[in-house]
Amino acid sequence: MTTEHQNRNTPYPLAEAIPQAALDAEVTQLEKLSEQPLFRRIPGYLKMGGPGFLGAAATLGAGTLTAAMLSGAQFGYKTLWISWVAIGSGMFMMAAMARFTTKGQFRVVRVQRERHGWFIAAFLTCIIGMAGVAVVFNFGQVALATHLVETLAEEAGFSFPRTWNWPLYGILTAWIALSFGRGGKRGVVFVENFMKLSLLLMFLCFAGCLLVVGIDWAAALKGFLVPWLPTGAAGIDLFIASTAAAIGVMDWVLFHYAGLSKGWGPHHEPLARADLFAGFALPFIFINFVVVSVFAATLYGSGDLPTTAIELSRALTPLLGETGATFAFLIGFLAVPVTTTAAISIACAIGLHEAFGWRPDVRSWRWKACILLPQIALLGAWLPSPVLLIIIIAAFLSLTNNIVGWSFFLLLNDPKVMDKNRSKSYIWNIGILLQITLLNCVAIMWVFNRLGFWG
């Protein structure tokens, strides 16, 4: 049995510590799984997958959940269909990232830099799309989490204000994120399992609340299957913002590098695709479904609505009636920022290392500092969110997400990069181009808004 992990040729250093024998065994297991019927294949893929769950944890953050809560409270069940359209349209690009990881066997940012230049690779993809987003959007996660801990303590009969509970949140999320890559594959699997369990907890807690408040199944099914939008510019804004925001640069790149960190190779592509479906898309759809439904069943039609996650959860808890349901909602909701902060911290470290060409080493102080950078947002426990910084990063993101999408689409179709593994599917390319068109629309609407053409 071989354990020559130091000299093994691997595209990403975090996978160097994984023994070749372990990867070979995984490939054998995958080959055996591929011969099994679908119902036996799925549990196997769920167990072996992971980067998809990490991606779902990153995208199901305070922002996405606030949008789901608002959507349910404002429009009832009518916009449930947007979640599967949003995630479905994003899966084509995610499949491209899976191809880069498994068959491409390269670090996509490096290839991007060679083919499309430093500005698109390092600045737009890594610094804005990953590190900038991680730091800025963590303010929202910290604000939500510290508030939820405070409310949970109040419900339990004691006081634990946000100005005191933030270290607890910082330590927990830093510990999870710093575990990534530790001890070779063990650390990666630990983080992935944490994400799997947390996503399950979120779903069970919100589904429990839904059982308490009840669901109008006919309206929910209609809302899930029949597209509906509010009339006028508001409907177009809602559709484009929801579909384009579900999956972005960070999700694309995080999935790719998380797969590389597990040592995924050419034989892992079916696993990577199954992981995208079962680990990324399904949790996103299920959790959106239960959250929208809880708010549709309680706050829909109740007049003036709050607009922040904190105020919305405050408005909901008295309507849940039972103490158990209130606790379930708060605990499930607390899992949202915890998993997002941990996932985006990992993305931040990966992004900064790729931007500056640093060798990723989880034991180095540089890796740790990069992972802890988004924890600047702990200042949010005392200070208001840095509105100007958020506006600048959000503007850059709106204007450049599409350019990064162009870059990945071109790489997938570039014979010099992908050789025989380039896209040979017209449908796949159309799927990616539809998502790119949505991202283009976000950028154009941002400009039109400033020029007074829109809204």
Binding site: G232, W406, F409, N413, R422, Y426, N429, T437, F448
Partner: protein, 67 residues
Amino acid sequence: MRNLEHKFGPLTVRTWGLVVNLLANATALFGLSLVLTGQGGWPILIAGTLMTVICIAVIARPADMEE
């Protein structure tokens, strides 16, 4: 259709297609903004949408289909 990976000036044909698609999207959205505010705009909206569909249909062709 010639090879989409062929360089035409500083960019490949496929990249130019992405640029034209962006312009087509902007045209369609500009037309839509006029339609929504009751200032006409249907011809612009239709032209932008048609350009978008054509661009996507052309640049989605994988390299293999061109050989």
